[in-house]
Symmetry: C2
Subunit: 303 residues, 2 copies
DNA sequence: CCGAGGCGTTGCAATTTGTGCACCGCATCG
DNA sequence: CGATGCGGTGCACAAATTGCAACGCCTCGG
């Protein structure tokens, strides 16, 4: 969109931290860029950047303006979507920031199902931990966030919330697999594999362990949920994960066992958007579908 | 703001209903304007106008886009206000659509008081009847609306609501002035002066009169509340108005008498803004002051 | 202590962009 | 059935924007 060019430049400068670098990024001369910025500052009535030796940095006014720009841009996209919508086929783009657990089964299924109905809609999926996901929404970089146990909840408007207990995952021949429900201490006594501290599952584990005067002491600590699922097939260890990220592989090699609720309360998987923002058509409809689909997952693993 | 020029042109075309007229309004050639519009339509991906012989008219896509533009513009104004705010003195502009009753005393007082604290803030006051006021908000033409008995209430977010009974106003030597409270029928039996039907006061009168199988039959019907207040000093007639628009002139020439609540229930004076919109600093603060000031008026005339 | 290298900024010429003017085809209306 | 007013277009010119080169400033390393 032509009329937002100056804003794009300003954003590039903010990102690059220097006019010259931003100029290069945007395939323009530093002088032209500089003059555009200065001119805009003049008619806007305030400087947007602190000029320091070695570059520039957004000042509060600049932050405010950039936020306005992103909001405008997102609103324009919404309008364009609505317009495309009223001339027949639905088009648009849905950008989602989500926790890892959604990657293997839930999200691909939901996206494919939606695209079957609306092939004109494209998707962007970003993997973000629970803290980052909210930043994504606040900067209009993502339309939706689907995260387990979000942290701050400011600027975060809940669309749907479903409880997800943490379950233990292990090889079928693991001794603990014989019980139908595990105590947390059983799991912590056994060698275990856990996600890094920034993840919600680990957060719940740590909290519950402290309560029972125990510690989570993983033999393998990782950022990858996928690695956890596969590692327990190689060494006799217990992994932790939430049901939505699990599915029986079908060959009986992997089993999941619930952990006693009194030891480890369920966490929440939350679908949300930026507070107060009105989403474009496609994201709004897709969010509705997600919300419905999440109902079916509520409280249990996939049968 | 330079980057919104095309939008301003589009709005002018929508308003004028013809490119050539709009071109003249905006001091530009029809050809230049036409090409700007066409070019924007192209990169936007949809036509904005129906081209009909004799001119153009916004199509739904155009309506949507224009709404986006107005929202963006208003949001930009808010940002500018915030920026001005954080560099010391508060600046900005407050645009209000209000009923006539607020003109003589309440609004001028409030505005003057606010400006005493913030001389950098300017005001725009538009007199609108209750139907028009909501349009004003929806098109972002006004920040606030202060109206008696609004009609539709869609897109209208109530900030404060205060009851305002209709009172009878008459010369001090009017026979009815001897009673402390009047019955509606007394007023209707006497020669009376009433506002036009589009006004809230009249609406309440008509409704109450019908209920008692009576009719409002004014000897003078007018759009001007000011005329009503002054007319009753010339002919022995009863006028109707709400307390917030009345004040004892001090010479004892004019008196107000409440009308029995069981005959004529109080109406509501409502301060509102566009639903979901976040106002610039100055309008937001002024609205807060208005809301507080309105509390003091609630339920009675000024002593 | 000073020169090298980075930065934002500015003067000036080149070029891209937008504008005005004249004109076309078309529908409407007296 | 011409006159009128409309949206749209070709083309030459005006205006805004760009790129290039250079300046002053600061930091940093020798």
């Amino acid at each position: 969109m032509r009329h937002l060019y100056t804003f794009r430049l300003i954003e590039a400068v903010a990102r690059a931290g220097s006019m010259r670098r931003a100029a290069e990024d945007m395939a323009i001369t530093a002088s032209a860029l500089n003059r555009r910025v200065r001119r805009f500052e003049e008619e806007f009535g305030a400087e947007l950047f602190e000029r320091l030796p070695g570059g520039v940095r957004l000042n509060p006014a600049g932050e405010l303006l950039l936020h306005h720009y992103r909001a405008s841009l997102s609103d324009l996209a919404r309008v364009q979507g609505q317009v495309a919508d009223l001339s027949g086929e639905r088009r648009g783009h849905v950008s989602i920031a989500c926790s890892q657990a959604l990657l293997p089964y839930f999200l691909p299924e939901q996206i494919a199902r939606y695209r079957a109905d609306h092939p004109g809609v494209t998707f962007g999926v970003k993997v973000r931990d629970r803290a980052e996901a909210e930043q994504e929404l606040a900067s209009f970089a993502s339309d939706l966030a689907l995260v387990f146990e979000p942290v701050y909840l400011v600027d975060f408007e809940v669309i749907r919330i479903v409880p997800q207990p943490v379950v233990a995952v292990m090889a079928a021949d693991h001794p603990l697999a014989r019980k139908q429900e595990l105590r947390l201490r059983d799991c912590l006594d056994a060698p275990h594999v856990a996600p890094a501290v920034k993840y919600g599952v680990r957060h719940l584990l740590d909290f519950a362990a402290r309560k029972g005067s125990r510690r989570v002491a993983p033999i393998v600590e990782t950022e990858s949920f996928e690695l956890i699922r596969h590692y327990v097939l190689h060494e006799r260890a217990v992994g932790f994960q939430i049901p939505i990220g699990l599915r029986d592989p079908g060959d009986g090699s992997l089993v999941f066992r619930p952990i006693a609720e009194r030891d480890l309360p369920a966490g929440n998987l939350i679908l949300g958007q930026m507070r107060g923002r009105s989403l474009p058509v496609a994201p709004a409809r897709f969010a509705q579908r997600l919300a419905n689909a999440l109902k079916d997952y509520a409280g249990g693993s996939d049968p």
